[in-house]
């Protein structure tokens, strides 16, 4: 077993675009679920809208890359309104069902043959990188870096841009949640009727939270699309569930929880995807094949999600006093 390459492959996921994208989307989910108590099961839909909004505006409408990002964000705002208007007045589980259904509608619309001209249906989109790469401030040739983190100029640009987005997003969430607005939002989570009795428009607050979290979700989708391609099969319902695992692992009502959760999730997944096949090959796991060892990782994700929710619902960083689950 080559521990060197296993550990280096694992360490690469500390700052991989996937980690950054999941961290952003999970942060959005923290605004929805952790702080406001909205059961949004459609974060994958927000991510898909961000990714496709970015790619389609560049490929089909020849817009600059930064306009593409803004369009992705704007589209997610529209999506949040479409989701929120019918359901935010209803009980929590209605929102859950409508968001999960809408995310699936969005995915099917992006995957269908009917809009092949724009979405390239099941094959996904690629080759929209020219604008983003032209804006790259790094000009060095070849691969630069140290240890397991050696990338070319484009690789570093994606990572630095993504990490900058994460820092800005985390700062925004932190500032929002210590503002009066944040206190109302948390009040909505704890007792909607009490907040309403104080004369606050609960519906408007919930809608604002849904929009803000949705924008972070869309940005997550953009970052996921930045390095290579938009792959439609990524944005399935399971993606939302992985984000919940990340969020609950770190702590739902925290700023750093989703970020650390994303790092832990991807590092463990990368470690297992490297170490399990190696163990199979040296015969340490005689009862499984290498394919099965890859499936085993996702079984563990499911089990981990159950165990976290049952035994440590506040997550690693959460405060038990802050009720993160609506009764």
């Amino acid at each position: 077993m080559d521990w060197g390459s296993i550990l280096s492959n694992t360490a690469a996921y500390l700052i991989s675009p996937e980690t950054i994208a999941y961290a952003l989307a999970a942060l959005g989910l923290a605004v929805h679920f952790g702080y406001t108590g909205l059961l949004n099961f459609g974060q994958a839909g927000f991510m898909a809208i961000g990714a496709y909004g970015y790619a389609i505006s560049i490929l089909s409408f020849d817009l600059p890359w930064w306009v593409g990002i803004i369009i992705g964000m704007a589209a997610s705002v529209v999506f949040a309104f479409i989701l929120g208007i019918p359901t935010l007045r209803l009980r929590a589980d209605y929102l859950a069902i409508v968001t999960i259904a809408s995310a699936e509608i969005v995915r099917l619309l992006f995957t269908t043959q009917a809009f092949d001209e724009y979405t390239n249906s099941a094959d996904g989109l690629g080759n929209y990188h020219a604008g983003f790469r032209a804006a790259n401030p790094f000009t060095f040739e070849g691969n630069v870096g140290f240890g397991p983190w050696v990338y070319n100029a484009n690789g570093w640009w994606v990572r630095v841009f993504g990490i900058a987005l994460v820092i800005v997003a985390a700062l925004i969430v932190w500032l929002l949640m210590r503002s009066p607005w944040g206190r109302v939002i948390k009040g909505v989570r704890e007792d909607e009727d009490a907040v309403r009795a104080l004369g606050k428009n609960v519906f408007a607050y919930k809608m604002q939270a849904l929009v803000i979290g949705g924008i972070f979700g869309a940005l997550g989708g953009v970052v996921l699309a930045l390095p290579s391609a938009v792959v439609p099969s990524v944005y399935v319902t399971s993606l939302t569930f992985y984000l919940y695992t990340i969020l609950l692992l770190g702590g739902a009502a925290t700023v750093f929880g989703p970020l650390i959760g994303a790092v832990i999730y991807w590092v463990i997944m990368a470690f297992l995807s490297n170490v399990l096949p190696a163990l199979v090959q040296i015969g340490a796991l005689p009862f499984m094949t290498t394919t099965q060892s890859q499936v085993l990782r996702f079984i563990l994700v499911g089990v981990a999600l159950m165990l976290i929710v049952i035994f440590r619902p506040q997550g690693i960083f959460g405060n038990k006093k802050e009720l993160t689950f609506v009764k």
Partner: protein, 434 residues
């Protein structure tokens, strides 16, 4: 699924297309350009080519047309059935096989007679049409509608089996069980294990699979849900636990059966013509009869037996039911067993309807189950039945107007719209939505 597609999967045509495909693959590489009938190949950088064969015999004189990007060309196949058309640009073109030039009784069986063709990395691409026995019938809209209605009814009944269990669980415990999809898959996989892997006869394998599903439901309740209820875990927490369970179970299935699709025995039975051009297979009819009988039995159980009445009482008001001497825990356990058995049965029927058994087959209808429950009214058993039938019919009939890869979208959009107008669902009561 469309009936047209299903009938085209009859064995004879399948073999023909298989042969055509193999032929296309093996002969294409060695194809010499001299014998194929060509047009505009010289002077153009890119070309499409193909090979028209039926029962491994080449067909001569079949007209192939190409159009797109302001360019048109047509050519007839040569003695060896081959054709080649040059095109000026590396773009997507429409290639049409003129079916009137085919021999009598031969049609394009897979896909349309016109298809979009595009280039890959190379400067040429092959376009092959799969021919088979058949009659060019233009099915009238009325016949299509009747056909889809039958299919929709079949699908809706099957969905109802799964949805009633999920709805009863929601009614009695308040849990939106995401792992219900995996209970559907479990039934199908157990049927697969006994009927295919262990070669038991179907009439034995299916009941055993349903009984094991029931046992699975009991295990889940006794091992997971009851302890959690005792701890007083919140409803949202339980919902997320069910998501974790759903993920874990789904991948456990994939761990054991892999990513492929398996067929149950008897899934390719011949279709019988009912009237007009409406065709149903024997499995369709059996599946519908089984669903109706089981659903009637469940309805009788809910309305006439003590436990059934207790179930409805708990759905209405759990604490009141408990105060009037109903053993809530026992009823909930029975509901889990019944729900799991119904889900398992629906999984087996779904395996015949799709057709095929796959590790994530249940997950693909989970949202339709939820849509059905919400449409009918959360927590009401008969609402789930009504909702399922509406969803089933909607999914199948909507394919008359919208592309079939969007057929689930129609049902999901209606779900969202219904929540706008009548959030309590069709049979729900207004007070439930709080």
């Amino acid at each position: 699924m469309e009936v047209a597609r299903r009938t085209s999967q009859r064995r004879s045509t399948l073999l023909v297309s298989l042969f055509t495909a193999i032929f296309a693959l093996t002969t294409f590489g060695a194809m010499s350009s001299a014998t194929a009938d060509e047009i505009n190949v010289e002077g153009n950088d890119y070309y499409f080519a193909g090979n028209v064969k039926y029962n491994s015999e080449p067909l001569e004189g079949v007209l192939i047309k190409i159009s797109g990007n302001g360019y048109n060309a047509e050519v007839k196949t040569g003695e060896d059935g081959k054709w080649k058309i040059g095109v000026p640009e590396k773009e997507t073109y429409d290639v049409t096989l003129d079916e009137t030039t085919l021999p009598k009784g031969v049609i394009v069986v897979e896909g349309e007679a016109t298809r979009e063709a595009e280039f890959g990395l190379t400067n040429n691409a092959s376009v092959n049409f799969f021919l088979g026995e058949g009659v060019r019938v233009t099915v009238s809209v009325w016949d299509q509608l009747v056909e889809r209605l039958f299919n929709g009814l079949n699908f809706g009944l099957m969905l109802a089996l799964a949805a009633i269990g999920a709805s009863l669980v929601f009614g009695t415990t308040g849990l939106s069980n995401f792992a219900h999809a995996e209970m559907v898959t479990f039934g199908a996989i157990m049927a697969l294990v006994f009927s295919v892997f262990l070669s038991w006869p179907l009439f034995l394998a299916i009941p055993v699979a349903v009984i094991l599903s029931a046992g699975f439901g009991y295990l889940l309740d006794a091992g997971l849900w009851r302890p959690l209820r005792r701890r007083g875990t919140g409803i949202v927490q339980l919902m997320i636990v069910s998501i974790g369970l759903s993920l874990a179970l789904r991948y456990v299935f994939q761990y054991f059966i892999g990513g492929g699709t398996y067929q149950l025995p008897g899934s390719s039975s011949d279709s019988l013509t009912l009237f007009g051009s409406v065709k149903l297979t024997a499995t369709d009819i059996v599946s519908m009869v089984v669903s109706i009988v089981v659903l009637l039995a469940v309805a009788w159980w809910l309305l006439r037996t003590r436990i059934g009445k207790a179930t409805r009482a708990i759905s209405d008001n759990s604490s009141l039911a408990s105060a009037s001497g109903i053993d809530v825990d026992r009823v909930v356990r029975i509901v889990w067993i019944l729900g799991a058995a119904l889900a398992g049965l629906s999984g087996i029927l779904w395996a015949y309807f799709r057709p095929g058994i796959k590790w994530d087959m249940g997950a693909s209808i989970l949202l339709l189950i939820f849509a059905a429950i919400t449409l009918g009214g959360l927590g009401t058993a008969f609402g789930a039945l009504v909702g399922s039938l509406i969803v089933g019919l909607l999914v199948e009939v909507s394919t008359l107007w919208i592309p079939s890869d969007l057929k689930y979208v129609g049902a999901l959009v209606v779900l969202v719209l219904v929540l706008l107008v009548r959030p309590q669902g069709i049979l729900g009561r207004r007070e439930r939505i709080g």
